[in-house]
Amino acid sequence: MTVIEARGLRKAFGATVALDGVDLRVEEGRILGLIGPNGAGKTTALNAILGLTPYQGELRVLGRNPWTERDQLMRDVCFIADVAVLPRWIKVSQALDYVAGVHPRFDRAKAESFLAKTTIRSASKVRELSKGMVAQLHLALVMAIDARVLVLDEPTLGLDILYRKQFYDSLLNDYFDRSRTIVVTTHQVEEIQNVLTDLMFINRGRIVLNCSMEEVESRYVEVTVHPDQVAAARALKPIHERQALGRSILLFDLMTLDKVDRQQLAAFGDVRTPSIADLFVAVMGNQTSAAPGAPR
Protein backbone atom coordinates (compact mmCIF):
# COMPACT_ATOMS: atom_id res chain seq x y z
CA MET A 1 0.00 0.00 0.00
CA THR A 2 1.30 3.43 -0.92
CA VAL A 3 1.47 5.82 1.99
CA ILE A 4 3.02 8.89 0.38
CA GLU A 5 2.80 9.63 -3.30
CA ALA A 6 4.06 12.77 -5.01
CA ARG A 7 4.17 13.65 -8.65
CA GLY A 8 5.84 16.76 -9.97
CA LEU A 9 6.05 18.32 -6.53
CA ARG A 10 7.26 21.90 -6.87
CA LYS A 11 7.80 24.71 -4.45
CA ALA A 12 9.53 28.01 -4.95
CA PHE A 13 10.27 30.79 -2.48
CA GLY A 14 10.52 33.79 -4.75
CA ALA A 15 13.31 33.03 -7.18
CA THR A 16 14.67 30.15 -5.10
CA VAL A 17 13.37 26.78 -6.18
CA ALA A 18 13.21 24.52 -3.13
CA LEU A 19 11.53 21.56 -4.82
CA ASP A 20 11.92 21.11 -8.53
CA GLY A 21 9.53 18.46 -9.75
CA VAL A 22 9.95 15.74 -7.14
CA ASP A 23 8.38 12.33 -7.79
CA LEU A 24 8.24 10.10 -4.79
CA ARG A 25 6.50 7.00 -3.59
CA VAL A 26 6.75 5.54 -0.13
CA GLU A 27 5.18 2.18 0.64
CA GLU A 28 3.80 1.05 3.95
CA GLY A 29 6.28 -0.46 6.40
CA ARG A 30 9.36 1.31 5.04
CA ILE A 31 11.86 3.50 6.85
CA LEU A 32 12.99 6.08 4.36
CA GLY A 33 16.04 8.22 4.92
CA LEU A 34 15.87 11.54 3.11
CA ILE A 35 19.44 12.72 2.88
CA GLY A 36 20.76 15.91 1.35
CA PRO A 37 23.02 18.86 1.93
CA ASN A 38 21.75 21.97 3.69
CA GLY A 39 19.20 23.79 1.59
CA ALA A 40 18.58 20.76 -0.62
CA GLY A 41 14.82 20.89 -0.03
CA LYS A 42 14.44 18.15 2.59
CA THR A 43 12.52 20.21 5.09
CA THR A 44 10.40 21.78 2.36
CA ALA A 45 9.47 18.30 1.13
CA LEU A 46 8.55 17.21 4.65
CA ASN A 47 6.57 20.41 5.25
CA ALA A 48 4.58 19.75 2.09
CA ILE A 49 3.91 16.17 3.22
CA LEU A 50 2.76 17.45 6.62
CA GLY A 51 0.47 20.12 5.22
CA LEU A 52 2.54 22.97 6.61
CA THR A 53 3.19 24.62 3.28
CA PRO A 54 1.29 24.96 0.02
CA TYR A 55 2.89 23.42 -3.09
CA GLN A 56 2.38 22.82 -6.79
CA GLY A 57 1.96 19.37 -8.23
CA GLU A 58 0.24 16.32 -6.90
CA LEU A 59 0.70 15.01 -3.40
CA ARG A 60 -1.26 12.42 -1.45
CA VAL A 61 -0.51 11.22 2.05
CA LEU A 62 -2.67 8.28 3.13
CA GLY A 63 -4.93 9.27 0.27
CA ARG A 64 -5.43 12.79 1.61
CA ASN A 65 -4.38 16.20 0.38
CA PRO A 66 -2.11 17.42 3.19
CA TRP A 67 -2.62 21.13 2.53
CA THR A 68 -6.41 21.08 2.68
CA GLU A 69 -6.83 18.27 5.21
CA ARG A 70 -4.00 18.81 7.66
CA ASP A 71 -6.04 18.43 10.84
CA GLN A 72 -7.61 15.13 9.78
CA LEU A 73 -4.29 13.89 8.45
CA MET A 74 -2.60 14.56 11.79
CA ARG A 75 -4.68 11.80 13.36
CA ASP A 76 -2.64 9.29 11.38
CA VAL A 77 0.59 11.20 10.89
CA CYS A 78 2.96 12.29 13.63
CA PHE A 79 6.01 14.43 13.34
CA ILE A 80 8.93 15.64 15.34
CA ALA A 81 10.20 18.79 13.70
CA ASP A 82 13.34 19.07 15.76
CA VAL A 83 14.13 18.91 19.44
CA ALA A 84 13.23 22.50 20.25
CA VAL A 85 9.54 22.75 19.44
CA LEU A 86 7.89 21.69 22.68
CA PRO A 87 6.67 24.89 24.34
CA ARG A 88 9.02 25.78 27.18
CA TRP A 89 6.28 26.72 29.63
CA ILE A 90 4.40 23.43 29.48
CA LYS A 91 4.61 20.88 32.28
CA VAL A 92 5.15 17.25 31.40
CA SER A 93 1.79 16.35 32.93
CA GLN A 94 0.08 19.13 30.98
CA ALA A 95 1.63 17.94 27.73
CA LEU A 96 0.22 14.47 28.44
CA ASP A 97 -3.20 15.91 29.34
CA TYR A 98 -3.31 18.05 26.23
CA VAL A 99 -2.30 15.37 23.74
CA ALA A 100 -4.68 12.91 25.43
CA GLY A 101 -7.39 15.55 25.12
CA VAL A 102 -7.02 16.33 21.44
CA HIS A 103 -5.63 13.13 19.94
CA PRO A 104 -8.00 10.19 19.46
CA ARG A 105 -5.17 7.68 19.08
CA PHE A 106 -3.06 8.67 22.06
CA ASP A 107 -2.43 6.02 24.67
CA ARG A 108 -1.54 7.87 27.85
CA ALA A 109 -0.49 4.79 29.79
CA LYS A 110 2.01 3.95 27.10
CA ALA A 111 3.54 7.43 27.19
CA GLU A 112 3.75 7.27 30.96
CA SER A 113 5.51 3.92 30.87
CA PHE A 114 8.08 5.37 28.45
CA LEU A 115 8.61 8.34 30.72
CA ALA A 116 8.96 6.05 33.73
CA LYS A 117 12.13 4.66 32.17
CA THR A 118 13.63 8.15 32.03
CA THR A 119 14.53 10.65 34.72
CA ILE A 120 11.78 13.04 33.59
CA ARG A 121 9.34 13.94 36.37
CA SER A 122 5.76 14.78 35.46
CA ALA A 123 5.81 18.00 37.48
CA SER A 124 8.79 19.38 35.55
CA LYS A 125 8.41 22.09 32.98
CA VAL A 126 10.01 21.67 29.58
CA ARG A 127 12.31 24.64 30.28
CA GLU A 128 13.79 22.72 33.21
CA LEU A 129 14.67 19.68 31.10
CA SER A 130 17.90 19.14 29.22
CA LYS A 131 17.84 19.00 25.44
CA GLY A 132 18.12 15.23 25.52
CA MET A 133 15.25 14.92 27.97
CA VAL A 134 13.04 17.15 25.82
CA ALA A 135 13.73 14.82 22.91
CA GLN A 136 12.83 11.84 25.12
CA LEU A 137 9.60 13.53 26.15
CA HIS A 138 8.65 14.35 22.58
CA LEU A 139 9.45 10.80 21.49
CA ALA A 140 7.37 9.42 24.37
CA LEU A 141 4.41 11.55 23.27
CA VAL A 142 4.77 10.52 19.66
CA MET A 143 5.37 6.83 20.26
CA ALA A 144 2.22 6.61 22.36
CA ILE A 145 0.20 7.73 19.34
CA ASP A 146 -0.94 4.87 17.19
CA ALA A 147 -0.10 6.65 13.95
CA ARG A 148 0.60 5.17 10.57
CA VAL A 149 3.23 7.61 9.41
CA LEU A 150 5.95 9.18 11.49
CA VAL A 151 7.99 12.04 10.04
CA LEU A 152 11.23 13.01 11.74
CA ASP A 153 13.10 16.13 10.66
CA GLU A 154 16.54 16.16 12.25
CA PRO A 155 15.10 14.60 15.40
CA THR A 156 18.45 14.18 17.13
CA LEU A 157 20.00 17.53 16.25
CA GLY A 158 22.25 18.72 19.03
CA LEU A 159 21.89 15.59 21.18
CA ASP A 160 24.87 13.69 22.52
CA ILE A 161 25.63 10.26 21.15
CA LEU A 162 23.98 8.36 24.01
CA TYR A 163 20.65 10.09 23.48
CA ARG A 164 20.95 9.73 19.72
CA LYS A 165 21.54 6.01 19.96
CA GLN A 166 18.77 5.54 22.49
CA PHE A 167 16.41 7.55 20.30
CA TYR A 168 16.74 5.24 17.32
CA ASP A 169 16.83 2.13 19.50
CA SER A 170 13.48 3.01 21.10
CA LEU A 171 12.05 3.88 17.74
CA LEU A 172 13.00 0.52 16.25
CA ASN A 173 12.32 -1.69 19.24
CA ASP A 174 9.26 -0.12 20.82
CA TYR A 175 7.54 1.61 17.95
CA PHE A 176 8.24 0.41 14.48
CA ASP A 177 6.30 -2.44 13.00
CA ARG A 178 5.48 -3.38 9.46
CA SER A 179 2.24 -1.42 9.43
CA ARG A 180 3.96 1.87 10.15
CA THR A 181 6.05 4.05 7.91
CA ILE A 182 8.84 6.36 8.97
CA VAL A 183 10.45 9.18 6.99
CA VAL A 184 13.56 10.64 8.54
CA THR A 185 16.02 13.35 7.60
CA THR A 186 19.34 13.74 9.36
CA HIS A 187 22.93 14.73 8.82
CA GLN A 188 24.17 11.96 11.08
CA VAL A 189 23.87 9.41 8.29
CA GLU A 190 26.17 6.78 9.83
CA GLU A 191 23.81 6.39 12.77
CA ILE A 192 20.79 5.50 10.69
CA GLN A 193 22.65 3.31 8.20
CA ASN A 194 21.28 0.13 9.78
CA VAL A 195 17.88 1.59 10.54
CA LEU A 196 16.79 2.45 7.02
CA THR A 197 15.07 0.24 4.49
CA ASP A 198 15.12 2.90 1.77
CA LEU A 199 17.43 5.69 0.84
CA MET A 200 16.77 8.91 -1.01
CA PHE A 201 19.32 11.58 -1.84
CA ILE A 202 18.01 14.99 -2.63
CA ASN A 203 19.95 17.94 -3.96
CA ARG A 204 18.81 21.36 -5.20
CA GLY A 205 15.20 20.32 -5.04
CA ARG A 206 15.67 17.18 -7.10
CA ILE A 207 15.93 13.54 -6.21
CA VAL A 208 19.33 12.24 -7.28
CA LEU A 209 19.14 8.75 -5.83
CA ASN A 210 16.15 6.71 -4.79
CA CYS A 211 16.56 3.03 -3.96
CA SER A 212 16.16 0.43 -1.27
CA MET A 213 19.06 -0.57 0.94
CA GLU A 214 19.18 -3.97 -0.78
CA GLU A 215 19.66 -2.17 -4.07
CA VAL A 216 22.45 -0.12 -2.57
CA GLU A 217 24.18 -3.34 -1.60
CA SER A 218 23.80 -4.95 -4.99
CA ARG A 219 24.52 -1.85 -7.00
CA TYR A 220 27.39 -0.02 -5.34
CA VAL A 221 30.79 -1.48 -4.68
CA GLU A 222 33.69 0.13 -2.93
CA VAL A 223 37.12 -1.22 -3.74
CA THR A 224 40.32 -0.51 -1.86
CA VAL A 225 42.60 -0.89 -4.85
CA HIS A 226 46.13 -2.38 -4.76
CA PRO A 227 48.57 0.37 -5.79
CA ASP A 228 49.66 -1.45 -8.94
CA GLN A 229 46.05 -1.95 -10.09
CA VAL A 230 44.94 1.67 -9.82
CA ALA A 231 45.25 2.54 -13.50
CA ALA A 232 43.29 -0.54 -14.58
CA ALA A 233 40.59 0.12 -11.99
CA ARG A 234 40.28 3.76 -12.99
CA ALA A 235 39.72 2.66 -16.58
CA LEU A 236 36.39 1.17 -15.46
CA LYS A 237 35.15 4.68 -14.63
CA PRO A 238 34.42 4.68 -10.91
CA ILE A 239 31.87 7.30 -9.84
CA HIS A 240 34.19 8.46 -7.09
CA GLU A 241 37.72 8.12 -5.88
CA ARG A 242 39.26 9.03 -2.56
CA GLN A 243 42.50 8.41 -0.78
CA ALA A 244 42.79 6.84 2.64
CA LEU A 245 46.00 5.72 4.37
CA GLY A 246 47.87 5.96 1.08
CA ARG A 247 45.46 3.65 -0.74
CA SER A 248 42.99 4.63 -3.43
CA ILE A 249 39.39 3.76 -2.67
CA LEU A 250 37.21 3.64 -5.76
CA LEU A 251 33.45 3.52 -5.75
CA PHE A 252 31.70 1.78 -8.63
CA ASP A 253 28.10 1.84 -9.72
CA LEU A 254 27.52 -1.63 -11.19
CA MET A 255 24.43 -0.42 -13.03
CA THR A 256 26.53 1.81 -15.27
CA LEU A 257 29.24 -0.79 -15.87
CA ASP A 258 28.76 -3.20 -18.74
CA LYS A 259 29.72 -6.79 -18.13
CA VAL A 260 31.60 -6.01 -14.98
CA ASP A 261 30.70 -7.80 -11.75
CA ARG A 262 31.95 -8.08 -8.21
CA GLN A 263 34.38 -10.85 -9.08
CA GLN A 264 36.25 -8.69 -11.53
CA LEU A 265 36.38 -5.78 -9.12
CA ALA A 266 37.61 -8.11 -6.36
CA ALA A 267 40.72 -8.68 -8.46
CA PHE A 268 41.68 -5.03 -7.83
CA GLY A 269 41.58 -5.29 -4.06
CA ASP A 270 39.23 -5.53 -1.06
CA VAL A 271 35.56 -5.17 -2.01
CA ARG A 272 32.74 -4.00 0.25
CA THR A 273 29.46 -2.12 0.25
CA PRO A 274 30.04 1.61 0.73
CA SER A 275 28.66 3.39 3.78
CA ILE A 276 25.80 5.82 3.18
CA ALA A 277 28.16 8.65 4.05
CA ASP A 278 30.68 7.64 1.38
CA LEU A 279 27.96 7.04 -1.15
CA PHE A 280 26.50 10.44 -0.32
CA VAL A 281 29.84 12.17 -0.84
CA ALA A 282 30.32 10.33 -4.14
CA VAL A 283 26.89 11.06 -5.53
CA MET A 284 26.78 14.65 -4.31
CA GLY A 285 30.33 15.28 -5.50
CA ASN A 286 29.27 14.31 -8.99
CA GLN A 287 26.23 16.51 -8.61
CA THR A 288 28.20 19.66 -7.96
CA SER A 289 30.55 19.05 -10.91
CA ALA A 290 27.94 17.80 -13.36
CA ALA A 291 24.86 19.71 -14.41
CA PRO A 292 21.90 19.06 -12.10
CA GLY A 293 19.68 16.25 -13.28
CA ALA A 294 22.48 14.51 -15.16
CA PRO A 295 24.25 12.61 -12.40
CA ARG A 296 26.04 9.91 -14.31
Binding site: L73, A81, R88, V102, H103, H138
Partner: protein
Protein backbone atom coordinates in the same frame (compact mmCIF):
# COMPACT_ATOMS: atom_id res chain seq x y z
CA UNK B 1 -5.15 -1.80 7.58
CA UNK B 2 -7.47 -2.94 10.34
CA UNK B 3 -6.94 -6.56 9.50
CA UNK B 4 -3.22 -6.00 9.70
CA UNK B 5 -3.21 -4.22 12.99
CA UNK B 6 -5.44 -6.93 14.43
CA UNK B 7 -2.73 -9.40 13.62
CA UNK B 8 -0.30 -7.52 15.85
CA UNK B 9 -0.54 -9.00 19.35
CA UNK B 10 -2.03 -7.45 22.48
CA UNK B 11 -0.96 -3.79 22.59
CA UNK B 12 -2.80 -2.90 19.43
CA UNK B 13 -5.85 -5.08 19.96
CA UNK B 14 -7.65 -2.37 21.83
CA UNK B 15 -6.99 0.21 19.15
CA UNK B 16 -9.78 -0.57 16.66
CA UNK B 17 -12.31 -0.31 19.51
CA UNK B 18 -11.16 3.18 20.43
CA UNK B 19 -13.04 5.68 18.31
CA UNK B 20 -10.93 7.32 15.63
CA UNK B 21 -12.88 10.53 16.03
CA UNK B 22 -13.50 12.58 19.14
CA UNK B 23 -16.18 15.16 19.75
CA UNK B 24 -15.26 18.45 18.03
CA UNK B 25 -15.71 20.29 21.31
CA UNK B 26 -12.85 18.39 22.96
CA UNK B 27 -10.00 19.93 20.97
CA UNK B 28 -11.59 23.33 21.63
CA UNK B 29 -11.88 22.69 25.35
CA UNK B 30 -8.28 21.56 25.62
CA UNK B 31 -7.08 24.47 23.48
CA UNK B 32 -8.70 26.92 25.88
CA UNK B 33 -7.24 24.98 28.79
CA UNK B 34 -3.83 25.23 27.16
CA UNK B 35 -4.16 29.03 26.91
CA UNK B 36 -4.93 29.20 30.63
CA UNK B 37 -1.86 27.07 31.39
CA UNK B 38 0.36 29.26 29.30
CA UNK B 39 -1.08 32.64 30.29
CA UNK B 40 -1.72 32.44 33.98
CA UNK B 41 -2.03 36.23 34.15
CA UNK B 42 -5.54 35.74 32.76
CA UNK B 43 -6.76 34.82 36.23
CA UNK B 44 -3.86 35.87 38.43
CA UNK B 45 -4.02 39.58 37.48
CA UNK B 46 -7.72 40.13 38.33
CA UNK B 47 -7.33 37.99 41.46
CA UNK B 48 -4.37 40.09 42.56
CA UNK B 49 -6.30 43.32 42.01
CA UNK B 50 -9.24 41.90 43.96
CA UNK B 51 -6.91 40.86 46.78
CA UNK B 52 -5.36 44.34 47.00
CA UNK B 53 -8.77 45.99 47.08
CA UNK B 54 -10.06 43.56 49.71
CA UNK B 55 -6.99 44.16 51.82
CA UNK B 56 -7.43 47.94 51.77
CA UNK B 57 -11.16 47.54 52.37
CA UNK B 58 -10.46 45.42 55.45
CA UNK B 59 -8.18 48.11 56.85
CA UNK B 60 -10.66 50.89 56.14
CA UNK B 61 -13.43 48.82 57.78
CA UNK B 62 -12.28 50.28 61.12
CA UNK B 63 -13.89 53.57 60.10
CA UNK B 64 -17.03 51.92 58.82
CA UNK B 65 -19.25 52.39 61.90
CA UNK B 66 -18.54 56.13 62.10
CA UNK B 67 -19.01 56.48 58.34
CA UNK B 68 -22.39 54.76 58.57
CA UNK B 69 -23.50 57.00 61.39
CA UNK B 70 -22.68 60.00 59.22
CA UNK B 71 -24.44 58.45 56.25
CA UNK B 72 -27.70 58.14 58.16
CA UNK B 73 -28.01 61.92 58.08
CA UNK B 74 -27.97 62.00 54.26
CA UNK B 75 -30.93 61.55 51.94
CA UNK B 76 -31.50 58.08 50.40
CA UNK B 77 -29.94 58.90 47.02
CA UNK B 78 -26.70 60.14 48.58
CA UNK B 79 -26.76 57.18 50.96
CA UNK B 80 -26.99 54.78 48.08
CA UNK B 81 -24.11 56.48 46.30
CA UNK B 82 -21.90 56.49 49.36
CA UNK B 83 -22.56 52.86 50.24
CA UNK B 84 -22.30 51.62 46.67
CA UNK B 85 -19.07 53.47 45.92
CA UNK B 86 -16.52 50.83 47.02
CA UNK B 87 -18.54 48.11 45.31
CA UNK B 88 -18.50 49.97 42.01
CA UNK B 89 -14.81 50.65 42.49
CA UNK B 90 -14.14 46.90 42.71
CA UNK B 91 -16.09 46.27 39.52
CA UNK B 92 -14.31 49.04 37.60
CA UNK B 93 -10.83 48.03 38.75
CA UNK B 94 -11.30 44.39 37.82
CA UNK B 95 -12.83 45.38 34.48
CA UNK B 96 -9.88 47.61 33.66
CA UNK B 97 -7.49 44.81 34.62
CA UNK B 98 -9.34 42.37 32.41
CA UNK B 99 -9.08 44.75 29.45
CA UNK B 100 -5.35 45.26 29.93
CA UNK B 101 -4.79 41.51 30.25
CA UNK B 102 -6.98 40.89 27.19
CA UNK B 103 -5.06 43.36 25.03
CA UNK B 104 -1.65 41.98 25.94
CA UNK B 105 -2.87 38.41 25.65
CA UNK B 106 -4.33 39.00 22.18
CA UNK B 107 -1.19 40.68 20.90
CA UNK B 108 0.92 37.71 21.94
CA UNK B 109 -1.50 34.86 21.26
CA UNK B 110 -0.55 34.06 17.67
CA UNK B 111 2.88 35.65 17.87
CA UNK B 112 4.38 33.76 20.80
CA UNK B 113 3.82 30.31 19.33
CA UNK B 114 5.67 31.33 16.18
CA UNK B 115 8.47 33.01 18.10
CA UNK B 116 9.23 29.97 20.28
CA UNK B 117 8.67 27.54 17.36
CA UNK B 118 6.05 25.63 19.36
CA UNK B 119 3.64 26.19 16.47
CA UNK B 120 5.33 23.16 14.90
CA UNK B 121 4.29 21.08 17.87
CA UNK B 122 0.71 22.40 17.94
CA UNK B 123 0.40 21.81 14.22
CA UNK B 124 1.57 18.21 14.61
CA UNK B 125 -1.67 17.48 16.43
CA UNK B 126 -5.11 17.03 14.90
CA UNK B 127 -6.38 20.48 15.87
CA UNK B 128 -7.51 22.75 13.06
CA UNK B 129 -6.37 26.34 12.68
CA UNK B 130 -9.99 27.40 13.11
CA UNK B 131 -10.24 25.67 16.50
CA UNK B 132 -6.96 27.21 17.60
CA UNK B 133 -7.84 30.76 16.57
CA UNK B 134 -11.36 30.50 18.04
CA UNK B 135 -9.98 29.19 21.33
CA UNK B 136 -7.58 32.11 21.46
CA UNK B 137 -10.32 34.60 20.58
CA UNK B 138 -12.58 33.16 23.27
CA UNK B 139 -10.13 34.19 25.99
CA UNK B 140 -10.66 37.99 25.76
CA UNK B 141 -14.22 37.77 24.42
CA UNK B 142 -15.75 35.16 26.73
CA UNK B 143 -13.37 33.80 29.36
CA UNK B 144 -11.99 37.10 30.68
CA UNK B 145 -15.44 38.75 31.06
CA UNK B 146 -16.77 35.65 32.85
CA UNK B 147 -13.72 35.51 35.12
CA UNK B 148 -13.98 39.25 35.82
CA UNK B 149 -17.64 38.73 36.69
CA UNK B 150 -17.01 35.83 39.04
CA UNK B 151 -14.10 37.55 40.80
CA UNK B 152 -15.99 40.84 41.13
CA UNK B 153 -19.10 39.21 42.59
CA UNK B 154 -17.05 37.12 44.99
CA UNK B 155 -15.13 40.19 46.13
CA UNK B 156 -18.32 42.22 46.59
CA UNK B 157 -19.90 39.40 48.61
CA UNK B 158 -16.88 39.26 50.91
CA UNK B 159 -17.00 43.05 51.31
CA UNK B 160 -20.68 42.92 52.21
CA UNK B 161 -20.11 40.15 54.74
CA UNK B 162 -17.23 42.08 56.32
CA UNK B 163 -19.34 45.27 56.52
CA UNK B 164 -22.18 43.33 58.11
CA UNK B 165 -19.90 41.73 60.66
CA UNK B 166 -18.23 45.04 61.54
CA UNK B 167 -21.56 46.88 61.87
CA UNK B 168 -23.10 44.10 63.97
CA UNK B 169 -20.05 44.04 66.20
CA UNK B 170 -20.35 47.77 66.77
CA UNK B 171 -24.03 47.36 67.54
CA UNK B 172 -25.38 49.21 64.49
CA UNK B 173 -28.19 48.21 62.20
CA UNK B 174 -27.18 46.58 58.92
CA UNK B 175 -30.49 47.46 57.30
CA UNK B 176 -29.18 50.62 55.60
CA UNK B 177 -26.35 48.74 53.92
CA UNK B 178 -28.49 45.84 52.78
CA UNK B 179 -31.36 47.97 51.44
CA UNK B 180 -29.04 50.24 49.49
CA UNK B 181 -27.05 47.40 48.00
CA UNK B 182 -29.17 45.38 45.58
CA UNK B 183 -26.32 42.96 45.05
CA UNK B 184 -28.31 40.61 42.86
CA UNK B 185 -29.38 43.40 40.53
CA UNK B 186 -25.89 44.80 40.49
CA UNK B 187 -24.50 41.42 39.54
CA UNK B 188 -27.03 40.95 36.78
CA UNK B 189 -26.18 44.38 35.43
CA UNK B 190 -22.47 43.64 35.66
CA UNK B 191 -22.95 40.34 33.87
CA UNK B 192 -24.77 42.01 30.97
CA UNK B 193 -22.20 44.78 30.84
CA UNK B 194 -19.18 42.45 30.85
CA UNK B 195 -20.47 40.02 28.26
CA UNK B 196 -22.19 42.69 26.15
CA UNK B 197 -19.65 45.49 26.11
CA UNK B 198 -16.36 43.82 27.08
CA UNK B 199 -17.10 40.70 25.09
CA UNK B 200 -19.30 41.40 22.09
CA UNK B 201 -18.93 45.17 21.69
CA UNK B 202 -15.11 45.09 21.93
CA UNK B 203 -14.85 41.90 19.84
CA UNK B 204 -13.61 43.74 16.69
CA UNK B 205 -10.69 45.18 18.68
CA UNK B 206 -9.66 41.77 19.90
CA UNK B 207 -10.12 40.34 16.41
CA UNK B 208 -7.81 43.04 15.05
CA UNK B 209 -5.20 42.43 17.75
CA UNK B 210 -5.25 38.68 17.09
CA UNK B 211 -4.89 39.23 13.37
CA UNK B 212 -1.91 41.51 13.88
CA UNK B 213 -0.30 39.05 16.30
CA UNK B 214 -0.64 36.34 13.67
CA UNK B 215 0.84 38.54 10.99
CA UNK B 216 3.59 40.64 12.57
CA UNK B 217 7.08 39.22 12.76
CA UNK B 218 7.98 41.57 15.58
CA UNK B 219 6.63 44.62 17.42
CA UNK B 220 3.04 43.43 17.23
CA UNK B 221 1.94 46.34 19.41
CA UNK B 222 3.25 48.91 16.93
CA UNK B 223 1.68 47.13 14.01
CA UNK B 224 -1.62 47.09 15.85
CA UNK B 225 -1.59 50.78 16.73
CA UNK B 226 0.16 52.47 13.81
CA UNK B 227 -2.31 51.60 11.01
CA UNK B 228 -5.18 53.01 13.07
CA UNK B 229 -3.20 56.20 13.65
CA UNK B 230 -2.25 56.34 9.98
CA UNK B 231 -5.87 56.03 8.82
CA UNK B 232 -6.88 58.83 11.18
CA UNK B 233 -4.03 61.05 9.99
CA UNK B 234 -4.67 60.48 6.30
CA UNK B 235 -8.36 61.20 6.79
CA UNK B 236 -7.55 64.39 8.68
CA UNK B 237 -5.10 65.62 6.03
CA UNK B 238 -7.10 64.64 2.95
CA UNK B 239 -10.67 65.36 4.04
CA UNK B 240 -10.03 67.43 7.17
CA UNK B 241 -12.47 65.21 9.04
CA UNK B 242 -12.02 62.76 11.88
CA UNK B 243 -14.80 60.22 11.43
CA UNK B 244 -12.47 57.27 11.87
CA UNK B 245 -11.17 58.57 15.17
CA UNK B 246 -14.70 59.33 16.32
CA UNK B 247 -15.75 55.84 15.29
CA UNK B 248 -12.98 54.24 17.34
CA UNK B 249 -13.69 56.50 20.29
CA UNK B 250 -17.39 55.70 20.26
CA UNK B 251 -16.57 51.99 20.02
CA UNK B 252 -14.20 52.26 22.98
CA UNK B 253 -16.62 54.18 25.16
CA UNK B 254 -19.47 51.85 24.35
CA UNK B 255 -21.19 54.15 21.82
CA UNK B 256 -24.81 55.16 21.98
CA UNK B 257 -25.84 51.51 21.66
CA UNK B 258 -23.61 50.27 24.44
CA UNK B 259 -24.20 53.29 26.67
CA UNK B 260 -27.26 51.91 28.49
CA UNK B 261 -25.12 48.97 29.54
CA UNK B 262 -22.17 51.13 30.50
CA UNK B 263 -23.44 53.16 33.42
CA UNK B 264 -23.09 50.80 36.34
CA UNK B 265 -25.21 53.16 38.44
CA UNK B 266 -28.36 52.46 36.42
CA UNK B 267 -29.52 49.41 38.31
CA UNK B 268 -33.20 49.61 37.55
CA UNK B 269 -35.52 47.39 35.53
CA UNK B 270 -34.73 49.56 32.50
CA UNK B 271 -31.79 47.18 32.08
CA UNK B 272 -33.90 44.64 30.25
CA UNK B 273 -35.10 47.28 27.83
CA UNK B 274 -31.55 48.50 27.32
CA UNK B 275 -30.38 44.96 26.76
CA UNK B 276 -32.95 44.45 24.05
CA UNK B 277 -32.00 47.70 22.36
CA UNK B 278 -28.34 46.77 22.59
CA UNK B 279 -28.83 43.31 21.07
CA UNK B 280 -30.89 44.67 18.19
CA UNK B 281 -28.58 47.57 17.39
CA UNK B 282 -26.87 47.40 14.00
CA UNK B 283 -23.64 48.70 15.55
CA UNK B 284 -23.25 45.50 17.55
CA UNK B 285 -23.77 43.24 14.59
CA UNK B 286 -21.55 45.24 12.26
CA UNK B 287 -18.85 45.03 14.90
CA UNK B 288 -19.31 41.28 15.22
CA UNK B 289 -19.13 40.88 11.45
CA UNK B 290 -15.86 42.83 11.38
CA UNK B 291 -14.52 40.69 14.24
CA UNK B 292 -15.48 37.55 12.32
CA UNK B 293 -13.68 38.84 9.22
CA UNK B 294 -10.52 39.57 11.23
CA UNK B 295 -10.63 36.12 12.81
CA UNK B 296 -11.19 34.43 9.45
CA UNK B 297 -8.12 36.25 8.13
CA UNK B 298 -6.18 35.13 11.21
CA UNK B 299 -7.19 31.50 10.59
CA UNK B 300 -6.04 31.74 7.00
CA UNK B 301 -2.77 33.34 8.01
CA UNK B 302 -2.03 30.64 10.56
CA UNK B 303 -2.32 28.01 7.87
CA UNK B 304 0.58 29.58 6.00
CA UNK B 305 2.64 30.60 8.99
CA UNK B 306 5.61 28.73 10.32
CA UNK B 307 8.02 29.70 13.03
CA UNK B 308 9.73 33.10 12.80
Amino acid sequence: MNAESNAVPESFDSQPIAPAAIAPTRPFYWSVQRELWENRSIYIAPLAVAAVILFSFLISAIHLPSKMRAALALDPMQQQELIGKPYNFVALSIMATAIIVGVFYSLDALHGERRDRSILFWKSLPVSDLTTVLSKASIPIVILPLLAFAITVATQCIMLLVSTAVLLASGQSVATVWTHLPLFQMSLMLFCHLLGVHGLWYAPFYGWLLLVSGWARRAAFLWAALPLLAIGLVEKIVFNTSHFGALLASRLTGGSEGAPLTGSASMHPMTYLALGRFLSSPGLWIGLAIAAAFLAAAVRLRRYQGPI
